[in-house]
């Protein structure tokens, strides 16, 4: 036993010496940042090139990408694409770690509200010149396109879009002869009418994550206000609407802990008559509840119609050695024929305005509602501080809905946090 104690001390001594050395090493000046790749340095396209690709796609989304990439590699035998799927919750962290360690892929698919943060971080390449000579900007919806910009420069191109609409279960609405609500007053009335003892009229997600913000922002925009004028009659009314729905018993206070997936669960199980959700639930609902008779409608309108723009963009990483090959791949994916096949297989909506006129999206009764709603969907273009802004909105929603703060106080407190974080 005595021996043991001595060897522990020696071990600690060794550790101490090593620690000192490491400490000095870590004090050494950090290495200079890698120079960004120049387009001219990139390998010509007839040389064998391997492109590393990161995304967070699973299930039908992943299958659609794999199909598309196989086709690309057939057409361009010199190019090999190595696709890695990283769980959604880990992708941002992985990108940061990769950026710090200088180990990033060539191409990344990113959730569009995160795009400007990573552009500001210097992770993505400025492709403004390439985008200009490509000359396709006018073919895209304004919202998705704006989400690829940072300080007026292009840092990628849109991949697909989604937005939120109102879903309703016809088994509950038809017996009462209820039509989807057109404005907020009707929205409240219908929610009340559809509420039963074991069923809520409406469910939306107020969870403390980006999903909560995503679901509430459209209601702010419907009043004509925006985050800069959150502390206004409109901002208060938008928050009051949610508070009223919960206080009236038409929406469960459980929404504060429900993700959009949980919201869909309530809807599928008949515990809610209406929900607010996105197009990615269509294949899920068709699979989980094939007999369920549901329909979708555009969100109710207050001063104006509004929804929120979700979806993904593609970006090229700043440190890539294969800028030309990556750009070729990105633009090939946007050619209408290639893009259409991919979006259909993945069950996604186009960001490409021309493609949205295709009958795939206009003739399907559910999808056409999404495409219509997309016209008034706004992006979360609030600059690189957006994650912190979003957190302030989540805390505002939760404080008001759980009754910790009055609507007036919650809105004023959130405004005080948000105003200095908004881009000048």
């Amino acid at each position: 036993m005595k021996n043991n104690a001595v060897s522990r001390r020696k071990f600690l001594e060794g550790l101490a010496l090593g620690t000192g050395v490491m400490f000095l090493a870590s004090c050494a000046p950090p290495p200079a940042p890698a120079a960004p790749a120049e387009a001219g340095d990139a390998a010509p396209s007839d040389q064998p090139v391997t492109l590393a690709w990161w995304d967070y796609m699973t299930a039908s989304n992943a299958a659609a990408l794999d199909t598309q990439m196989a086709k690309y590699m057939d057409e361009f035998p010199a190019i090999t694409i190595e696709r890695t799927s990283i769980p959604f919750a880990d992708l941002k962290q992985k990108l940061l770690q990769g950026a710090a360690a200088g180990q990033l892929p060539d191409v990344v698919i990113i959730d569009n509200p995160d795009h400007s943060s990573f552009s500001a971080l210097g992770v993505f390449a400025d492709v403004t010149d390439l985008v200009q000579s490509w000359g396709q900007e006018s073919n895209y919806f304004e919202g998705p396109w704006a989400s690829t910009l940072y300080q007026g420069k292009n840092y990628g191109i849109p991949d697909n879009s989604n937005c939120l609409v109102l879903w309703y279960n016809k088994a509950f609405t038809e017996p009462l002869g209820i039509q989807p609500p057109a404005d907020w007053d009707q929205f409240k009335e219908v929610s009340a009418a559809l509420t039963e003892e074991d069923r809520f009229g409406i469910v939306m997600s107020g969870v403390k994550s980006e999903e909560g913000t995503f679901q509430w922002l459209p209601f702010l925009w419907m009043t004509g206000e925006d985050l800069a004028t959150l502390d206004s009659d409109g901002g208060k009314a938008a928050l009051q609407l949610w508070v009223d729905l919960v206080d009236g018993g038409y929406m469960s206070p459980g929404i504060l802990n429900w993700t959009q997936g949980d919201v869909k669960g309530q809807f599928v199980n008949g515990l809610a008559a209406m929900m607010v959700n996105g197009p990615w639930q269509i294949p899920v609902l068709r699979e989980e509840a094939p007999d369920m008779d549901w329909d979708v409608a555009t969100l109710p309108v207050e001063k104006q119609g509004a929804s929120i723009l979700g979806g993904e963009n593609t970006a090229i990483v700043n440190s890539t050695q294969n800028l030309d090959a990556a750009w070729t791949l990105l633009t090939w994916r946007q050619e209408p024929e290639n893009l259409k096949a991919y979006l259909i297989e993945a069950g996604k909506l186009p960001s490409h305005a021309e493609l949205a006129k295709d009958e795939t999206w206009t003739s399907d009764p559910a999808l056409s509602v999404f495409v219509e709603q997309l016209q008034v969907a706004k992006p979360r273009a609030y600059g690189p501080n957006y994650p912190e802004i979003s957190n302030a909105i989540q805390e505002m929603m939760q404080a008001a809905i759980s009754g910790q703060k009055s609507v007036d106080v919650a809105v004023a407190d959130a405004q005080a946090i948000i105003t200095p974080l908004l881009p000048a």
Binding site: N4, A5, Q93, S117, A120, L121, S252
Partner: protein, 314 residues
């Protein structure tokens, strides 16, 4: 910078009693090399790198360009004066104490039970470990649904027992959300406490209990006078280890409430995660991480001292 070095390496450990012994021991050090290199790379270096980051203003603009200016203790001042940090620290203390008291008591009681021989002992003990073996995300998700206000089994149970008139939204009400996460953490931690306490109980010689019963001790007396004093070193170790494990719990809380409602369950690790990975305020996040490590290091040093003390006295 010097105070940082003093913090990491107490001077006492650098000073050597005799110079000649060092060379002779070189061979022995070589055997330690693989473990040392591993520790330096995977534990010491990240901690030091984090320490360095905590004194630079690393944020979105300066993260990759390495142009972050040295700001001394500014990040620490900013973090400590942030009401959200103070709230997080307080919640972490509640969370840790609440978890430890019950984990330990229930774990101890179960260890006493499993220290007796009865049919099915082995099987039940294996089942008890389930909570410890399940991935935390799984147990946290299950608890999230159990505490759900609409269809949760906890409401159902309490209502059928007549303890509750109307269903409660446990994880959404600010007063009960933290309790909900503590209950989940207690459940996960009980097997850990039990499994560490059991060998301690088994190492108490039966002859002591026999002697006590010959002297006419009641079971309660032999527990108070024999079991408890002999279990003290083991119990202290378990409590210190438990503190280290509990103070840094992230996943259970994150899965159950994401730190909400508002920030009613934003314990220190969640606060640190938010700063660094949600808000990209890396410098502030690093400073908060150091402040999170501080109490842990103090307890860890206490644990080392205790186990050394124990060894030399035995």
């Amino acid at each position: 910078m010097t105070e940082a070095r003093d913090h990491v390496v107490p001077r006492r450990l650098i000073e050597k009693p005799a110079g000649g012994a060092r060379l002779r021991n070189l061979g022995q050090y070589l055997f330690l090399a693989p473990a040392l290199v591993f520790m330096l790379l995977t534990m010491v270096y990240p901690v030091l790198s984090n320490l360095r980051m905590s004194v630079y203003d690393v944020n979105v603009a300066t993260f990759l360009s390495n142009s972050a200016p040295f700001v001394g203790l500014d990040n620490y001042v900013k973090v400590v004066s942030d009401p959200a940090f103070q709230n997080a620290f307080r919640l972490s203390v509640y969370f840790t104490i609440g978890s430890l008291v019950f984990q330990f008591t229930i774990g101890f009681a179960l260890a006493l039970l499993f220290n007796r021989s009865f049919p099915g002992n082995g099987l039940l003990r294996a089942l008890m470990l389930l909570g410890w073996m399940l991935p935390t995300v799984v147990s946290a998700s299950i608890f999230r649904w159990m505490f759900d206000g609409g269809n949760g089994i906890i409401n159902f149970l309490f209502e059928s027992l007549g303890l509750l008139d109307a269903p409660r939204h446990w994880l959404i009400e600010p007063n009960t959300a933290l309790i909900g996460t503590i209950v989940a953490n207690i459940w996960v931690g009980i097997p850990f406490n039990m499994i560490l306490l059991l060998p301690g109980l088994q190492s108490i010689p039966d002859s002591l209990y026999e002697a006590a019963s010959i002297d006419g001790a009641t079971p309660w007396q032999s527990f108070r006078r024999v079991t408890l004093p002999l279990m003290r070193p083991v119990a202290l170790s378990v409590l210190l280890l438990g503190f280290i494990y509990t103070f840094k719990v992230f996943d259970i809380v994150y899965v159950m409430t994401r730190g909400g409602p508002v920030n009613a369950t934003t314990v220190l690790p969640i606060y640190v995660y938010q700063l660094a990975f949600n808000f990209f305020r890396f410098g502030d996040g690093a400073a908060a991480a150091v402040l999170l490590l501080l109490p842990l290091s103090i307890v860890a040093v206490g644990y080392l001292w205790l186990s050394q003390h124990e060894e030399s006295s035995s």
